[in-house]
């Protein structure tokens, strides 16, 4: 009897000990920029994004109360795969906020050493811990604090069954003395989770099914459970074929789940699992792991796609562009088809009255600000004497040479700048969303195009306006609003008025096409200004790292050709991927989309000043 009471009491304690501390919680969103920089500085891959990790089942023994309540089988752990470093959305494991913060930093540092080597979980984490402490001695203090706090939360081995106690003792030793433990004896339950370590078996499983990394910590019975668990998580497997795997959950399911996930059913092994339960479990995982983007909005994308626009005149089609495959590190020639379109029924129009005042002010600013005023030396006529020229003239005459007294003046002139700018606006469907009660993103972009054109036409700079959207790689719809050779006119305004949200954002292809257009411009300085509201994406594998890498490659080429790329975005999360695409000085995030129209011309002025 006493024993029973003791055990119950212990369970109660365990439950309390692993209670969370919401008042000390630290959120990933508070720290993500800092963590990203730390991760990259310590050697982490710059192409990875930072994401929240979904809660993962652990198989450790649960307290009775928890079992009754069905809680505490899940814990958010951290891991990295080839796309992202995944960290818990919130850490509230410790009563002190500083410790929760420390844990984020510790995990980022640990993950930066992870090279994706296949090795048992226990060894890997001990090795990473040891290496991190060796390379960054400043992490030692942090680790000791975390270790102390965490050990006090782990179950007491003295109160566990012998097999579990042995396991627990080994884990404790591995934590305190990383590298010391090479083997974990099997026990009935998996060991208590170690939030100081990277995830034992990331839910991402390679298609080849190399299960050699199977953690050895699971007993036979548990192993079965685990592999079951893992196959269920097979949805993170890479899509084997680009075309497979979009929405194949039946429609009624989607609607009842409220969300859908991009699941490759082609790779599903466990057909006999109850589909509904499975979908539900995927939901649970997906709505936290996939870029935080609500999948519901994607669903709408597919139902609402604009009907094949017949109000666009096709100017040219059939041009094929390459695309970069980062995984194979090869350029895929002739991979995307570009179709150049122009709004057919756009009526010439005046500038909308609400923009008149701003436009006027901007024009005035640009007129005096833009074309640099220069003193020209050695002019036949001018407002000042060119002393240099005069001196030379006087010397030559003094030494008896016959010289003419011409070109002895300085003149102040406004030289037109030798500059061409192509503005490329993202017209994907996401521009259909609302920024406030009155404006959609597309309206903001439209006003930006107006004010940008008004400002630039006050200078001598040559400019062109294009918009783009895509539906997979065929076609990329490239909307011509104003080419370099056209003057800005009422017709241009009509076409600006006619822009509308299109499909997806295959940014790399659009950048490549803009690059070609700019290449034909003879100007000395050429600027590619990209106005966007989100990261590269498309229906196929373009979503995720593939698209980011392709875009990066295209931008790199642009830069190599001596064209200056610059991105203006209203995507609040732009800081996550834009530095990787454009470099730290190559983009700005405009936090209030409503300010874009006014800011864009000023940004242009700043970019081209010199």
């Amino acid at each position: 009897m006493e024993e029973k009471v003791g055990e119950l009491w212990h369970r109660l304690i365990t439950r309390l000990a692993q209670d969370r501390y919401p008042q000390a919680a630290v959120c990933l969103t508070e720290l993500d920029k800092t963590l990203g920089i730390l991760f990259r500085a310590l050697g982490g891959d710059g192409g990875l994004r930072l994401e929240t990790a979904g809660a993962t089942h652990h198989h450790a023994r649960r307290g009775l109360l928890q079992r009754i309540a069905g809680s505490a089988t899940k814990i958010e752990l951290a891991w990295r795969d080839e796309h992202a470093l995944r960290l818990p959305e919130v850490i509230d494991l410790f009563p002190q906020q500083s410790l929760n913060r420390d844990l984020y930093f510790w995990l980022a540092a640990l993950a930066s050493g992870e090279q994706g080597r296949v090795e048992p979980w226990l060894e890997k984490n001990q090795r990473l811990t040891r290496e991190t402490l060796r390379r960054y001695p400043g992490m030692a203090g942090r680790y000791q604090r975390l270790l102390k706090a965490h050990l006090s939360q782990r179950p007491d081995p003295a109160r566990l069954r012998p097999d579990e106690a042995a396991q627990e003792a080994a884990i404790r030793q591995a934590l305190a003395n990383p590298g010391a433990v090479s083997h974990l004896a099997p026990a009935r339950h998996a060991p208590w989770p170690v939030p100081l370590w990277l995830h034992p078996s990331p839910p991402w499983v390679s298609q080849a099914g190399s299960d050699s990394a199977e953690p050895e910590n699971a007993s036979a019975g548990e192993a079965q459970n685990l592999s079951h668990e893992r196959s269920r998580r097979g949805e993170r497997t890479e899509m084997p074929e680009a075309e497979r795997g979009l929405v194949t959950i039946r429609m009624e399911n989607i609607l009842s789940w409220g969300e859908f996930a991009k699941v490759d059913r082609g790779a599903e092994e466990n057909e006999d699992l109850d589909q509904a339960v499975e979908a539900a479990e995927q939901m649970e995982q997906f709505n936290v792991t996939r870029d935080g983007k609500s999948v519901a909005s994607k669903l709408r994308f597919d139902l609402d796609l604009p009907s094949d626009a017949c109000d666009d005149e096709v100017l040219s089609e059939g041009l094929l562009l390459p695309e970069w495959d980062w995984k194979r590190q090869v350029m895929q020639e002739a991979h995307c088809r570009v179709m150049t379109l122009q709004a057919a029924d756009a009526q010439p129009m005046e500038l909308p009255a609400r923009l008149n005042r701003t436009a006027k002010r901007l024009r005035a600013q640009f007129q005096q600000l833009m074309p640099a005023r220069l003193w020209r030396r050695g002019q036949a006529d001018g407002s000042e004497v060119d002393l240099d020229a005069y001196l030379r003239f006087a010397t030559e005459r003094g030494s008896g040479q016959l010289t003419n007294a011409d070109n002895l003046y300085l003149d102040l002139r406004t030289g037109a700048r030798d500059l061409s700018c192509l503005l490329l606006a993202d017209l994907s469907l996401s521009t259909d969303s609302w920024v406030d009660n009155h404006h959609r993103v597309i309206d903001v972009i439209r006003d930006s195009l107006y004010l940008f054109s008004e400002s630039l036409s006050a200078t001598g700079d040559r400019f062109a306006l294009y918009g783009f959207s895509s539906r997979k790689r065929n076609p990329l719809r490239f909307h011509q609003i104003k080419s370099f050779d056209e003057a800005y006119s009422a017709r241009t305004r009509g076409r600006i008025q006619a822009i509308k949200p299109g499909y997806y954002t295959r940014m790399g292809a659009a950048v490549r096409h803009a690059h070609r257009l700019l290449d034909r411009q003879p100007a000395q300085r050429r600027l590619l200004l990209l106005v966007s509201d989100g990261k590269p994406n498309d229906l196929d594998k373009y979503e995720g790292r593939y698209g980011v890498e392709d875009t990066r490659h295209a931008i790199h080429e642009v830069r190599k050709a001596g064209i200056q790329p610059f991105c203006v975005t209203i995507d609040e999360r732009g800081n996550d991927y834009l530095p990787y695409l454009f470099g730290s000085g190559g983009y700005v995030v405009i936090r209030k989309p409503q300010e874009l129209p006014r800011k864009l011309p000023l940004l242009y002025a700043r970019l081209t000043r010199e």
Partner: protein, 273 residues
């Protein structure tokens, strides 16, 4: 592992030579260039030792150096020379380039891409096999002696991509690329330059390399050897190490407070708190 007694005597041996640790075979290349009258182009990020290298080579070869820091207002006249007004009318005054040619010295144009392209064409007759400098204004044509050497440098960061050099200018030089020294070497440089202990030098170098990994993504510029020397100097002077790194490595590289605080985390990780 880095040990001061190894580097210090070397310095004492050639008291006249500036302290310089070769990165690769640049010393040899420079000497070949000098002996065979080839102009040399040095490219590399800021603060990686370009200027130091040239001063070292000049001392080694026993030639004076005329250094011109180029900027976009620099005109050919500033290089070649001009007439000035004196007591008795005007007189001609040699510019640094002309003086170097006359004396058989090394003329060093730092950050040459900053100069306008029409300025650098005055270098053309000097940098092909003619090796002459015509002084249009005095009618003189100077023939460069064998000891004259032209060296230019620039930083090929992408901010400079737009400026670039005219191919016809560029293709008149043998070129060598500098980068930040390898970690071991950079430690030796720190030790030799500032006198700091080897272990601190190692930590500083590791920190710098961590920060260099952020170039282009989070930072526009990589932490230079020069800044590392500054940090080492502050620390050696008794300044608190973490704060020294803030002052010499973090704040000079970013104005963004969030980035700065992230960099401070990297500093803490590398140096300890």
């Amino acid at each position: 592992m880095m040990n001061k007694s190894v580097t210090a005597p070397a310095r004492e041996l050639d008291e006249a030579l500036p302290f310089y640790k070769p990165q690769a075979r640049e010393v040899e290349l420079f000497e070949y260039g000098y002996r065979h009258q080839l102009p040399v182009l040095i490219k590399g990020p800021t603060g990686c030792g370009k200027t130091r290298f040239i001063n070292y080579m000049a001392a080694r070869l026993g030639r004076p150096v005329y250094t011109v820091a180029c900027h976009d207002d620099l005109s050919a006249v500033d290089l070649v020379g001009r007439h000035l007004i004196g007591d008795s009318g005007t007189y001609w005054s040699d510019g640094p380039l002309t003086r170097a040619v006359r004396e058989g010295a090394i003329c060093y144009l730092d950050e040459v891409v900053e100069a306008r392209k029409d300025t650098t064409v005055v270098l053309h007759p000097l940098t092909d096999d003619r090796r002459i400098l015509p002084l249009e204004r005095t009618g003189e044509i100077l023939k460069a002696p064998p000891e004259f050497m032209l060296v230019v440098s620039y930083n090929p960061g992408y901010q400079n991509l737009l400026k670039g050099m005219k191919p016809s200018t560029r293709q008149r030089f043998v070129a060598v690329r500098f980068d930040f020294p390898a970690p071991e070497l950079e430690c030796e440089i720190l030790v030799g330059e500032s006198g700091i202990d080897g272990e601190t030098a190692q930590r500083l170098v590791r920190l710098a390399n961590a920060m260099r990994a952020l170039k282009d993504h989070d930072l526009e510029e990589a932490a230079s050897t020069r800044l590392l020397v500054y940090a080492a100097t502050l620390i050696l002077g008794g300044y608190e190490p973490v704060e020294a790194c803030r002052a010499a490595l973090v704040e000079p590289l970013t104005d963004d407070t969030e980035t700065a605080s992230a960099l401070m985390e990297v500093v803490h990780a590398s140096l300890g708190r």
